[in-house]
């Protein structure tokens, strides 16, 4: 019973375009799984299916053994943290209000949320002095730290990150990568991380899921992918990125 998320024969198409062919995938608790592949390969679709932003045309999705339905989706979402490339912070709320939004909405005690906020700002290395600032007053890296705090506020069982470092410059990116990995390890967090950058995938992944044209091509460690490619595309993808 170590699988936290199970996708059972799900598929998704938009009109004529198949975004995801019939796919099954189970994600283990406490592991970081990286979804990687070229643009349009279906990796973001997979992530959006898990958080319920889109519904599958077929198949079902289970979180911790519980099938995701329209009725329980809002409750399940509170057990999942979600961070996107642009951060997704609400511009009319301060950093603090963004982080506390859900906790306040469901009526968590002030004291408890306040302690959690202090804990998170240490964990994400975000200065508490900046908490009263609005998103426009923060740098890109700072915004992603706030977004991460917001995602972690309710201690989610699952953390989904959709190219969270994609919009950052290389130096900020490197320091945030290091901090993120530390956080995942410290929290023993189950993470699904979407990226198109192989070195980032290697840096984070316990397991890599390589996708192409709406299908999972191979899943395994980087060593598996290098030494036992399931398909010529696997070698092609790895070699192309090696020379970048």
């Amino acid at each position: 019973m170590s699988a936290l998320v199970q996708l059972i024969e799900v598929s998704k198409r938009y009109g004529e375009d198949v975004a995801l062919h019939l796919t099954s995938l189970s994600l283990d608790r406490g592991k970081t799984t990286v979804l990687i592949g070229p643009s349009g390969c279906g990796k973001s679709t997979l992530l959006r299916l898990i958080i319920g932003l889109i519904e599958p045309d077929s198949g079902s999705i289970e979180l911790d053994g519980e099938p995701v339905t329209r009725d329980n989706i809002d409750a399940l979402r509170r057990r999942i943290g979600y961070v996107i490339q642009e951060g997704g912070l609400f511009p009319h709320l301060t950093a603090r209000a963004n982080v506390l939004l859900m906790a306040r909405h469901i009526g968590k005690p002030e004291k408890q949320t306040h302690d959690r906020l202090t804990e998170l700002s240490e964990l994400t290395r975000f200065s508490p002095n900046l908490l009263s600032r609005y998103p426009v007053e923060l740098s890109g890296g700072q915004r992603q730290r706030v977004s991460l705090m917001r995602a972690l506020m309710l201690s989610p069982e699952l953390l989904l990150l959709d190219e969270p470092l994609g919009a950052l410059d290389p130096l900020v990116r490197a320091s945030l990568q290091k901090d993120l990995r530390e956080i995942f390890t410290r929290l023993r967090q189950t993470v699904v991380f979407v990226t198109h950058d192989l070195s980032e995938a290697i840096y984070f992944a316990d397991e890599i899921v390589l996708m192409n044209e709406g299908r999972i091509v191979q899943r395994g460690t980087i060593a598996d992918l290098r030494e036992r490619p399931a398909d010529p595309f696997v070698s092609e993808f790895i070699n192309a990125q090696r020379f970048l």
Binding site: D74, I84, L89, F90, P91, M102, R150
Partner: protein, 484 residues
């Protein structure tokens, strides 16, 4: 004075001097008989007054037999007074005998021009096809108006414009037009040195002045009005009209009717305190402005309460969104006068402040609905999805995320509505709902620019003030994070 507690008899009048004066005469007649009465001045044209009478918003108004025959009963203009009275009785409306003067339509020209061209009759106009005609909109459309007149006399003229009655006199004296329609008792004919062209083919029917009243009007009021029958000839009516235009005081002109031919002791007017003409300008201005703000404010509130929910629905797109945006868009294209005229015959509305507020409310919808819808639609997809992914309920998403993010757009729509409303509310005076339009309409009617400005300038200042208040409100209502 027991009857003073009863509902006053409501007298209406059309938007021209003579009708105002007759309305004041009726009011004075009733109050002198101990019957409480109020006069709603210058409510509009024939149809508005007739519908108001039928709908019970007014009990009495002055009308002309020719108009009753052709416009109201849609019959031939040659019907007799008795036939008219019978037809009206079937509609629940009574009519007095003629008051004594015939105010028929007439065509008038500048005296100098008529003499130069040797024009004396309407037939003479045939020889001068280049003359420019400026006719009132009502005359252009009437069954007994311009089209049959032109046919009867075979008039070849092509250069014809529609113009407001009062403005037409200025246009005539300054030479912008050469011929206009007028009423035969119009004081302006003499004032402006005009001549009435002889109706040599006897086209115009008789327009004998009478009072129309609801059959259910209290008997003593009807009896009092009857006493006015056959007491007012053309010469006297022209004098009263001239006095009204000179002093711009209809009540005083009406007083003249009661004083002339009565005892040599002039009546002591103890009523000036109650008369609105006795009011000082600041008090009048305050009254107009207050009413104006009530009209604009209340209708704006309704527009907001209805417009924002409609905007939220419209922002979701689909058929419903199209229908909503289509509806509020179409409402906006209806000319405001037409919208008022459409609302007046409806039950509940009629000639009242309700109609004015309803019209303003409808006009206020479009900016608010559209700005709410676009404000919501402009929220980036990533932010919408973030709100969903957090697990916020749809209500919480709307109130905590979407509406605050769209607040700038929504407020700008409300601001636009408010400023438009302040401007459009001036038209409310046309249906007797008051406000700063009152002096504008009276001024137009009297061709008096100072009176027009007494309404127009405060209305403009009010619009600026409202705009300024909303700019302040922006700082309070738009979240700081959206203003940096």
């Amino acid at each position: 004075m027991a009857s003073a507690a009863a509902t006053p008899v409501a007298i209406g009048s059309k938007k021209f001097t003579e009708s105002y004066v007759l309305g004041e005469i009726a009011k004075r007649t009733l109050t002198d008989a101990g019957i409480p009465a109020e006069h709603r001045q210058g409510m509009g044209g024939t149809i508005i007054l007739w519908e108001a009478l039928r709908g019970g918003q007014i009990d009495v108004y002055p009308e002309y037999t020719g108009t009753i025959a052709t416009e109201i009963l849609k019959s031939d203009s040659n019907v007799s007074i008795d036939e008219i009275r019978e037809s009206l009785a079937n509609l629940g409306v009574g009519m007095t005998a003629p008051l004594g003067f015939n105010n028929t339509y007439a065509l008038v020209m500048r005296r100098s021009e008529a003499q130069r061209l040797g024009i004396r009759t309407i037939s003479d106009l045939q020889k001068f096809p280049d003359l420019k005609f400026g006719l009132t909109h009502e005359f252009l459309e009437r069954q007994d108006g311009w089209r049959p007149l032109r046919q009867r006399y075979g008039l070849p003229h092509e250069n014809i414009i529609g113009i407001d009655h009062s403005l037409g006199y200025s246009a005539l004296t300054n030479g912008s037009i050469d011929v206009k329609d007028a009423y035969s008792t119009d004081a302006k004919i003499e004032q402006n040195d005009l001549v009435v062209l002889e109706d040599d083919l006897h086209f115009f029917p008789k327009y004998e002045a009478v009072f129309l009243f609801r059959s259910s009007t209290r008997k003593d009021a009807i009896a009092a009005l009857r006493r006015l029958e056959n007491t007012l000839d053309e010469t006297r009516m022209i004098r009263l009209n001239a006095e009204a235009e000179r002093t711009k005081d209809y009540a005083r002109a009406a007083d003249l009717y009661f004083n002339v031919g009565a005892t040599s002791v002039p009546r002591v007017s103890g009523r000036s305190g109650h008369s609105e003409f006795g009011e000082s300008f600041p008090r009048k201005l305050a009254r107009w402005t207050l009413r104006h703000l009530q009209l604009a404010g209340f209708s704006l509130l309704l527009s907001i309460l209805v417009g924002i929910p409609l905007g939220i629905l419209a922002s979701r797109g689909g058929a419903v969104g199209h229908v909503i945006l289509g509806f509020v868009g179409v409402v906006q294209t209806i000319p405001s006068l037409a919208l008022l005229a459409l609302l007046v015959p409806l039950p509940f509305f009629g000639i009242s402040i309700r109609t004015a507020i309803a019209a303003l409310f409808l006009y206020g919808l479009l900016p608010i609905v559209r700005s709410t819808a676009t404000g919501l639609q402009d929220i980036p997809r990533a932010l919408r999805e973030s709100a969903v992914a957090l697990g916020l309920s749809s209500t919480a998403r709307l109130w905590k995320i979407y509406l605050p993010m769209a607040s700038r757009s929504i407020l700008s729509g409300i601001k636009t509505s408010a400023v438009i409303n302040i401007g459009t509310a001036t038209l409310a005076a046309l249906i007797g709902a008051g406000g700063l339009g009152e002096p504008i309409i009276s001024g137009l009617n009297l061709n008096d620019h100072v009176t027009i400005l007494e309404g127009a300038v405060p209305a403009a200042v009010l619009a600026l003030l409202v705009q300024w208040c909303f700019d302040l409100l922006d700082r309070v209502l738009i979240p700081k994070g959206l203003r940096i």
